[in-house]
């Protein structure tokens, strides 16, 4: 318990450091840092309806973060959440497009499953390359993100293009309300239920199964579990598929929920934020519930800033990035740090 409090303390300290860095940049750019932070706080938590907006962003972020937790715990730096999230959205949109006459509930279910399958597929190939030939997953998943962005651009301006659509941002045709799992608010029974379900399943997987314990051991020391007879390929692929499927589910939730269509380049910082949530929560499932609400707040603030306060929304990107810069400092388990070679 003390160790856990200490970890929370470290995280807080480094987040504070990140905010100070951002404050300096705000001030140097000619803004008032206190005003900027006050506006962010307003947009995130204090303004009317802010908490509902938090939840709208926090739910998909939490779902993606659970996948990051599982992959990172098993020792795989899957930073391809964004790509897997997009593929999930694409999967859902494709399922909706291919089932024009089926009953709405079935279409919804099929779209969710397709999203998970597409997301898992987008995690499968980096996982396979990593496990089969040691191809570094940081680069492959990163490249996967870039490819997925372009795939999304192509689909929304080509095969899935909304013929009635106009303007700069291309998208698919709107999804019928009966198939969607929420209105534009993004908060509904469906979405809450899915999020809670994913949270519970991940918590059990991590804390109450052989996979959870062995995966954690493998993440910290793959050699040791190999000598115990584990097949890293199975553990590792399992972790990749799970994390891809959760990111895919988040993408499907976004498309079937608040977005109501497949939009080119939707939720651009989603994957990065999901990784951040997992890291700030020290790879704990229960911890990331709270952390997801915090980052959900920041996400809603990034819409609030330019519209209500007339401030650049890039401020939020900076806050997120600065937190990423500092968050792994000491607050992570030892294996996520540079090795200290102490041979004696």
């Amino acid at each position: 318990m003390r160790a856990r409090l200490l970890a929370v303390g470290w995280a807080m300290a480094f987040i504070a450091l990140a905010l100070i860095l951002c404050g300096i940049i705000f001030q140097a750019s000619g803004f008032s840092a206190p005003d900027m932070f006050a506006s962010i706080l307003d947009g995130a938590f204090l303004s009317d309806g802010a908490l509902l907006h938090d939840l709208r962003w926090a739910c998909p972020l939490f779902v993606s973060a659970t996948g990051v937790i599982v992959a990172f715990r098993c020792g795989y730096f899957n930073v391809g959440t964004q790509g897997q999230f997009y593929l999930g959205g694409i999967g859902a949109a494709v399922a909706v497009a291919m089932l024009p006459h089926a009953p709405a509930v079935l279409v919804t279910l099929a779209a969710i499953l397709a999203g998970m399958a597409f997301g898992a597929l987008w995690a499968f190939w980096p996982g396979w390359l990593r496990i089969r030939s040691g191809t570094d997953e940081v680069i492959t998943t990163l490249m996967g993100n870039f490819i997925a962005v372009l795939l999304l651009v192509w689909l929304t301006s080509g095969p899935l293009k909304d013929p009635a659509g106009s303007g700069q941002v291309t998208s698919s045709p709107p999804i019928p309300a009966a198939i969607r799992i929420s209105t534009d608010t993004g908060v509904s029974g469906w979405i809450i239920a899915l999020t809670v379900l994913v949270g519970v399943v991940t918590w059990i997987l991590v804390n109450r199964t052989a996979f959870g314990v062995l995966g954690g051991l493998a993440g910290r020391n793959p050699v040791m579990v190999t000598w115990q007879g584990a097949r890293l390929s199975r553990l590792g692929l399992g972790a990749f598929l799970f994390s891809g499927a959760t990111a895919g589910l988040a993408g499907a939730m976004e498309v079937l929920g608040p977005d109501g269509r497949l939009v080119s380049g939707f939720s651009p910082g989603h994957g990065f934020t999901a990784v951040l949530i997992a890291l700030v929560a020290n790879l704990s499932v229960s911890g990331s519930v709270v952390v997801a609400l915090f980052f959900g707040g920041l996400a809603s603030a990034s819409l609030y800033l330019p519209v209500i306060a007339g401030l650049p929304s890039a401020a939020i990107d900076m806050v997120n990035a600065a937190i990423a810069l500092f968050i792994t400092a000491r607050s992570l388990p030892a294996w996520l740090r540079l090795p200290k070679r102490n041979r004696s």
Binding site: M143, L150, T328, W335
Partner: protein
Amino acid sequence: MIDLIVAVLRTGTPMIYVAMAGVLAQRAGVWNLGLEGLMITGACASVVVTEQTGSVALGLAGAIAFSVLLSALLWLVIEKLKANPIIAGLGLTGLGLGGTDFGIQAVYGSEGAVTAPAGIPTLGPGFGPFGVLDLLVIAMPVMVFAVWFLCRRTRFGLRLTASGEHPFAARSVGADPARMRLIALLLGGVLAGLGGADLSLGGLDIFSTGMTAGRGFMAFSAVIFGAGHPVGAAFAALFFALVEFLGIKAQLVFGENAPRDFVLMLPYIATVLGIWISARLRGGALLSATEMRDG
């Protein structure tokens, strides 16, 4: 053919400068995923400073200064706070992308693009089709040679390499790996700043938000491709530039029928294939990040 060479050199040079920064970091034992952030910072600072002062030289100095500053920040976080270099590097990239976006909006309003009154001097019309090449392009082979010489033909380079490969060995002969990493990152900051400046001031003399579009990551891939060797990394960067050029050509030839987005994917797919092949050739995860995890 000359068109092709000129185009590949112009697209490739910024990436090569940034890749040289990556090579130095890699040799010292840092996976620098902050290269994209350094590059866009260099691109932005060079245009803004040139626009404000009217001097391209000051613009280049500004690009170097900001990039070095960010590199020092990365070193501090990795070495002194013992942060994970991959996540911290991605954070630095985010800071560069977000910070330039924010800074431009703060200074110029919500235009998202700034034009500099002048760019880096070019060879001029006297050189025919090569006249469009700027001085940084011309200096590029010298720079690659210099980095190669530093790494492979000086005692300093040996110590730099030892600091990454076997820090204890470096320590045993009195070299301080942390200090070597600082030097590598600062030198890399200079190179990445120049690379960013060449991207903006070596082309249309415009900075627009997000204009690096993953080129810093491609430079990082070039480092992996070249297995940390400067010349290998430079050729990998040229290869990526070639792929991009062919993509644009294909679009011109086939027009709207050419699926533009798939062509744009080619460098990324090539990167994946490339590191997959080099991982297979090397017989496993020699350069894998997981090697960096502590038992």
